[in-house]
Subunit: 339 residues, 2 copies
């Protein structure tokens, strides 16, 4: 947000929907940043050093934004949403640190990953720390309902990560299994972020359910687009290397559909490259060509549009206004960044 | 416990104190085992498979024993202590999985480590799962005080692990820093295990503080002895390779004291072997000889006896009886297993 010069109140034509939302919630997001900075302090210097590397690397802070927006949509502005938003960002950061160890990634948000700079050991342990710290902040807030949501969410999240590992390199993974994985590893935390906004606002069950549904469907759409972008974006827009999923043999929907729609020869190509990880120089190019020919990238975006529509409709029970419009805009932004 | 044939009520002469305690709490410990088995189930098969490998490998279950004994010592037998004891064992198991990844260990409790069998990735993620699952079980129990204790404990625990990593290979580590590390990475969870027993029993603050003090001091003593055993036990009694700490350059009290008491030549030896990890075949033997000559192994046990005494005295406010005696016996057993 530092680069956004505020010319006048209200949204500017060149702002994307996340920037519009961040602009509406500017004061609270400054509070989130403060809570994040103070939360990651420790007399063990490696902790703020390593956490800060990732936390200051320009993430979109989409989950904290969702928590605060959800609380405000239910007319709550009491301040609890700020610390809880920071706690949710910590869980997200912890999973990124562990993901990068598991995936052996060396680039994240355009910077060297923490595991590359400080080693896998430090990334595992600082991830554990941020995860624990998050529960400490949630305990300090004092709502057992929030504790329950976060404990259920992080259990689902790690279960999804193990499921993804179990399905790794299996080109015959079903779309259903893939959806379970992304529901658990991405959508569950989006859903928790929005539901917790409703909880602190003491919203009705139907409002909390609506917020959760918005978060969950947005999360699925977000991950579907991410998985399509991994084959279609440029490194500059992605902040990580294009084709990472391909090189790791990660089985995502564009590949699942290409395998299912492909000829015998195509299927052998996918088995060789994704299951056996026997890849040559021009294989990524060929993979993208097959996906384009068979329309699997476009259809992955099509699936994302479906979940995006469900997310937008879930907000229908809330009164119209600039906040609800901004949240609708976030869905469109997430789906459309594919182009 | 399956191997213990119960001849008559009360303790048998050949039972060690942990077995005596387990015998007193036999019914509850069967409940803990059931809670552990049901808690680690998941539709993602790798989770029970990998967790079961470690959980069924004959750990002493000392933390669950402490929770149940502490609750009973405060006259509580309502059942909540059983699920919470299982949750605490899950946190312990999660840290073991991550520890073995961080330490690159290949032997634990006499068996191949999970990371050796299933890889680091699976160990990191299943560790995350067990950790989350533990918070889920604690949330189901419903006590915010327990949530707070466990969130604070796991934050301290991971902070201690990072501190240990930061101090790795630094032979000039002070005894104070070493004590901070073992307080955080071992004693904190012992302290939580005993305090939580008091919390479910709705014990007074002074009773909860006494239980916590017992747990914390026992934990420090336990870890001190463990660190001495790493240089003085046989592989059969240790269940892992003797000299693991030496080979990894882990800085524990026997080495810290040997470095501080050593000649210039000795210090160069410790720097070469522990800091630079430049080790030859007979270096472990020489390390043990230096430690024996300078009495650092015996003095490490001496320190353990000190903390053990504090632990035993902490129990003084509770009425005498077989349970309190068994807990006193556990301290003696932990300290004396060094011989």
């Amino acid at each position: 947000m530092e680069n956004v010069v505020r010319l006048s109140p209200g949204k500017r034509a060149d702002q994307n929907a996340l920037e519009v939302l961040a602009d509406l919630l500017q004061t609270e997001m400054l509070g989130v940043n403060e809570a994040i900075l103070s939360g990651m302090q420790s007399h063990v210097h490696l902790i703020p050093e390593l956490s800060g590397h990732l936390i200051n690397s320009g993430g979109k802070r989409i989950r904290p934004l969702l928590t605060i927006a959800s609380a405000h949509l239910c007319d709550y502005r009491g301040g609890r949403e700020i610390n809880l938003a920071a706690a949710i960002e910590f869980v997200h950061t912890a999973t990124l640190l562990h993901d990068d160890v598991v995936d052996e990634s060396d680039l994240r948000r355009g910077k060297a990953t923490a595991n590359t700079v400080w080693g896998n050991q430090a990334s595992v342990l600082v991830g554990d720390y941020l995860f624990s710290r998050s529960f400490q902040m949630i305990a300090q807030d004092g709502s057992m309902e929030v504790v329950e949501v976060m404990a259920n969410t992080s259990t689902a999240l790690s279960e999804g990560e193990v499921l993804q590992l179990s399905a790794a390199n299996n080109v015959d993974t079903s779309e259903e299994t893939y959806l379970k994985v992304i529901d658990a590893k991405t959508a569950a935390l989006f859903a928790a972020a929005t539901r917790i906004g409703g909880i602190v606002a003491d919203a009705s069950d139907s409002e909390k359910d609506a917020l959760e549904s918005y978060g969950r469907n947005l999360g699925v759409a977000f991950q579907l687009v991410d998985d399509a972008l991994d084959y279609s974006a440029t490194q500059a827009t992605l902040g990580k290397a294009v084709g990472d999923d391909f090189r790791e043999g990660k089985i995502t929907l564009p590949a699942i559909l290409a395998y299912r729609r492909g000829s015998e020869e195509d299927r052998n190509f996918w088995k060789r490259t994704l299951s056996d990880l026997d890849q040559q120089d021009d294989d990524l190019e060929k993979a993208i060509m097959l996906m384009t020919d068979q329309g699997t990238l476009a259809d992955t975006i099509g699936r994302a549009q479906h979940y995006g529509s469900v997310a937008k409709d879930a907000l229908g029970i809330f009164p119209d206004g600039e906040l609800r419009q901004a949240l609708v805009g976030v869905v469109d932004f997430c789906v459309n960044r594919a182009y």
